[in-house]
């Protein structure tokens, strides 16, 4: 067994986080970003690329009219509590995947819906789908964006006329996934 300098071997990570309510981050000498939060995995450090992920979807009925922030009312996975008050809050700076799919039930042809991604209240992504019949349509907005810690990401739903959102985990949902430092 050889000996090497002890840089950021796990033993050299900061101690588990056992107090406070915010996500803590640490960058090791290889540039890997680690995160920890009191009460999550016992406060232990995990690589941000493994851990920073959230998915929420719309489960309850709601009507979409005009453009408005959509509240996603049900969580699929969000270990670090990124989503609150209808917004994802970015815990550490970096490069992220953001997906927002919106489905609505059209009542006639020619209607449309748009899935928009807003960052700090500014539009950063949009996808629009048109109806060809009185049935469900969906728009899937997929973006990769660089964020600063504290940036807020909203799923904004828009429709040409008032239309019922098509709920459930596979129809109307949003995800935020950390991919790296960018």
């Amino acid at each position: 067994m050889s000996l090497v300098p002890a840089y950021a071997i796990p033993d050299n990570l900061p101690a588990p986080v056992t107090s406070g309510a915010t996500i803590q981050s640490f960058t090791d000498v290889w540039g890997d970003v680690w995160v920890a939060k009191n009460g999550v995995n016992g406060g232990r450090w995990k690589r941000a690329r493994d851990a920073i992920y959230a998915k929420w979807f719309r489960n309850a009925a709601i009507s979409i009219a005009g453009a408005a922030v959509l509240t996603l009312d049900t969580m699929t996975k969000d270990d670090y509590g990124l989503y609150s008050a209808a917004a994802f809050t970015v815990p550490v700076a970096g490069w992220y995947d953001v997906v927002f799919q919106l489905a609505v039930t059209a009542t006639a042809t020619g209607q449309w819906c748009s899935a928009r991604i807003n960052v700090n209240a500014a539009l950063q992504g949009i996808m629009r789908a048109h109806s060809g019949a009185a049935a469900a349509i969906s728009a899937t907005c997929i973006q990769q964006l660089a964020f600063n810690a504290g940036d807020t990401v909203n799923a904004v739903a828009e429709a040409s006329v008032s239309l019922a959102c098509t709920p459930l985990v596979y129809w109307t949902y949003a995800t935020l996934q950390y991919r790296g430092t960018g």
Binding site: M1, V4, P10, R49, K55, A135, W171, T175
Partner: protein
């Protein structure tokens, strides 16, 4: 600066895998997941996040039937660890547990306005992803799903479509019309 033993420095990884047919995995002391498979990169270990990726597409002419049916993807862009082992059922099998990104796009050539396609994917037979698009003219139109899920060894993903009427799929290389990808993101 202290000195400590070298645990899972890459040269301390298990030896290359030179027998068997399944993907082997190893988690080092830093929590990084490595995989290896006999016959792939000489059985050498690679980080799962770097290497565990598959992309498949439809190249040959194919008719999307009316209603729901599997879409066999007949061509592979990349799949070093052979996740897509059941083309007839259009099924991919993640070899290790973790968080995966799944992308599924279907393109059809409409013969009239008002027709629609609905790409769907199932995990272990349960509908987990769907989207829907309509044609507004006699032309190609597409619909795409992007989802992430925590999957486990033995889980499988199936790529289906549900169409309003029988429609010719958009096909061809290198797979920009009708294709699927599965990518390992991390432990989740």
């Amino acid at each position: 600066m202290s000195l400590i033993p070298t645990y899972a420095i890459p040269d301390s990884l298990p030896p290359p895998v030179i027998s068997g047919t399944t993907v082997q995995s190893f988690t080092d002391v830093w929590g990084d997941v490595w995989i290896a498979k006999n016959g792939v990169y000489g059985g050498a270990w690679k980080r799962a996040r770097d290497t565990l990726y598959g992309k498949w597409y439809r190249n040959a002419a194919f008719t999307l039937p009316a209603g729901q049916a599997a879409v066999p993807l007949d061509s592979t862009t990349r799949d070093p660890y052979s996740m897509y082992t059941n083309p007839a059922g259009s099924a991919a099998y993640p070899p290790i547990s973790g968080l995966y990104d799944i992308l599924w796009q279907v393109t059809a050539n409409a013969t009239a306005s008002g027709q629609w396609v609905q790409p769907r994917f199932f995990i272990n037979g349960m509908l987990m992803g769907v989207s829907q698009s309509y044609a507004s003219s006699v032309n190609a139109f597409s619909s795409v799903i992007s989802q992430q899920f925590v999957l486990h060894v033995g889980d499988y993903i199936q790529f289906y479509d549900n169409a309003s009427t029988a429609l010719a799929a958009g096909v061809g290389a290198p797979g920009y019309w009708t294709y699927a990808t599965v990518e390992y993101y991390g432990t989740g």
